[in-house]
């Protein structure tokens, strides 16, 4: 059911744990749905652009949730904030060689966690927040509340 790459990231997750004294932390998901994720970011600056100097995660969830968290941190590491903002759930699933349909919400949650961390950072620093990032922030906030809706949005109502 899982690709080899999913299993590999699940067995040996990259960038797991916490960053000591992070610039920002995001939290998405909730215990009722069975997936929760924290993203820790340290942001650096090069060529006048903010970039992800370090990123770590902590996840409560299934193999797929852990693997998507791991690969999300890999994809985001070293990217500018604007670039990392563009990492979408499809990119994460694709990087893992695909996910079972029913598990697509896991890649969603990882993307939510990343976007939310970037949103929190930009807000804190008074940086401009795009409409798209504002929208992503709202979706991430929703994961904290209701899981039933999320389940339906990201898997169960699809044919």
């Amino acid at each position: 059911m899982y690709t080899e790459k999913v299993m590999e990231h699940f067995k040996n997750p990259r960038n797991m744990g916490e960053i000591e004294d992070p610039d920002v932390t995001s939290k998405v998901g909730n215990p009722a749905c069975g997936d929760m994720m924290n993203i820790y970011l340290r942001v650096g600056e090069k060529n006048n652009e903010k970039y992800i100097e370090d990123i770590k995660f902590k996840t409560f969830g299934c193999a797929s949730a852990i693997a998507t968290s791991s690969v999300t941190t890999e994809l985001a590491m070293g990217k500018t904030l604007d670039e990392a903002e563009e990492i979408e759930e499809e990119d994460i699933a694709e990087e893992l060689g695909g996910l079972p349909k029913i598990k697509m919400h896991c890649s969603n949650l990882s993307a939510n966690g990343l976007h939310e961390a970037i949103y929190q950072y930009k807000k804190k620093e008074g940086m401009e927040i795009s409409e798209d990032l504002e929208r992503k922030h709202k979706i991430a906030q929703k994961t904290l509340e209701k899981t039933e809706e999320m389940r339906q949005e990201h898997g169960l109502n699809e044919d």
């Binding site: 744990g17 939290k27 924290n38 996840t59 299934c62 193999a63």
Partner: protein
């Protein structure tokens, strides 16, 4: 004793059991020369008939009933469907009310759900945090039009054993309903004497007791009348048409003979006890699901708070250990097990549940190996979890 020719520890015996080599040997001739149809007149057919009836006798001996009270079916699912729908159809003019519980196997709940669509009324009894029904609840729910009460004997997930004898007595005293019990998990581990239990119908199958998959039985007392599900050539005294599955019936008979000779209650209970003690001594924040004791021998269900069940199953799989979970992530509907939900211990417990079920071919060494691997993987997954011990998002 090593039964499987693979280097794995199989600790999911509540899902299915390996076929006992003695069962396999008994079956083989019926997959070879003795291929007859038991309904044929000739010698080849009569040989098959003899084998089927001998097997029926063995099943009946295990259950302490008459051979003619045994109906062979394809599975526990079919036996449960037969008991429930068969009663509903046969007694629909007497009443359309059925009582069952929220922690029955899906095949009972789904059969009842379908009957609701056909105009029957079903009462689903609640259970407490250990999975026990309340006897008073059953008494209260019994009505004049109640035609069936179906309650499982030992729960396949959390091991809770219901007082079937007492429940059946009350149901018979206070109503005209039949009492059916699903006891698929019980042979070889508990008393399955249907006379002692006082039930009208009981479901068992072979593959939970070291026999093959695809064969089950329904005990139906001789005075109990229900409609068949399958109509056809009138096999099984017209109760279940379809040519008898001779090799599997023979295997089932042998499995029942072995279960009767080889009561494994004490051994399995010792394994469970050692397992729980060792786990609790070595791992923190463990919640036991279901009663501590007594429970279905060999069954253990525990939640490791902060560790999601599917992840833990797959990590143990890497150690060559097979166990199960009731976590939502492991199901097709992304819903936690209905049994754990009925126990109402909160989502963090349901999502973190692990079912370990030891059986005939496990040893105390297996117990040690599972504890060892669990300690390592729980520790590892907890080091990356986003959940604190209260089930909240940690910092």
């Amino acid at each position: 004793m090593k039964i499987l020719d693979v280097d794995r520890i199989y600790a999911d015996n509540n899902a299915t059991t390996p076929v006992d080599p003695k069962v396999k040997m008994e079956m083989l001739p019926y997959l070879e020369d003795r291929f007859g149809n038991p309904n044929s007149l000739h010698t080849t057919g009569r040989e098959a008939r003899k084998a089927v009836e001998e097997a029926r006798q063995k099943v009946a001996e295990m259950l302490n009933c008459k051979a003619k009270e045994i109906i062979f079916t394809s599975s526990a699912t079919e036996s449960n469907n037969h008991a429930i729908k068969g009663t509903a159809f046969a007694r629909k003019n007497e009443g359309k009310h059925i009582i069952t519980s929220k922690i029955e196997h899906k095949c009972v709940l789904e059969a009842c759900g379908w009957l609701e669509e056909q105009g029957f009324e079903i009462t689903y009894l609640d259970v407490d945090k250990e999975g026990y029904l309340s006897v008073e609840d059953i008494e209260e729910e019994l009505r004049e039009d109640t035609v069936l009460v179906s309650i499982m004997m030992a729960n396949n997930e959390v091991g809770t054993i219901q007082p079937i004898n007492k429940l059946a007595r009350i149901v018979h005293e206070k109503s005209n309903a039949y009492f059916h019990t699903d006891m698929a998990q019980c042979p070889g581990k508990m008393d399955v004497d249907v006379e002692n239990l006082g039930v009208d119908m009981a479901t068992i199958n072979a593959h939970k007791m070291y026999g093959p998959k695809g064969i089950g039985a329904l005990y139906k007392g001789q005075d109990v009348e229900i409609d068949p599900l399958l109509h056809g050539g009138g096999q099984e005294e017209g109760e279940r048409s379809g040519t008898e599955n001779v090799p599997y019936i023979v295997g089932f008979g042998k499995a029942c003979e072995l279960a009767q000779k080889n009561q494994e209650k004490d051994r399995l209970e010792k394994m469970h006890q050692k397992f729980v003690e060792d786990v609790c001594a070595r791992i923190e924040k463990v919640v036991i699901n279901g009663p501590l004791s007594p429970r279905l021998p060999g069954n253990t269900n525990m939640s490791f708070i902060g560790v999601e069940g599917e992840a833990l199953v797959l990590r143990l799989d890497n150690h060559g250990i097979d166990v199960a979970t009731g976590s939502a992530c492991s199901s097709d509907e992304l819903k936690a097990s209905h049994v754990l939900e009925a126990l109402d211990k909160g989502p963090e417990v349901a999502h973190s549940s692990l079912r370990i079920s030891f059986g005939r071919f496990n040893t105390m060494d297996d117990v040690d190996a599972v504890v060892e691997a669990l300690e390592k993987e729980v520790d590892d997954l907890r080091s990356i979890t986003a959940m604190d011990e209260k089930g909240k998002i940690g910092d």
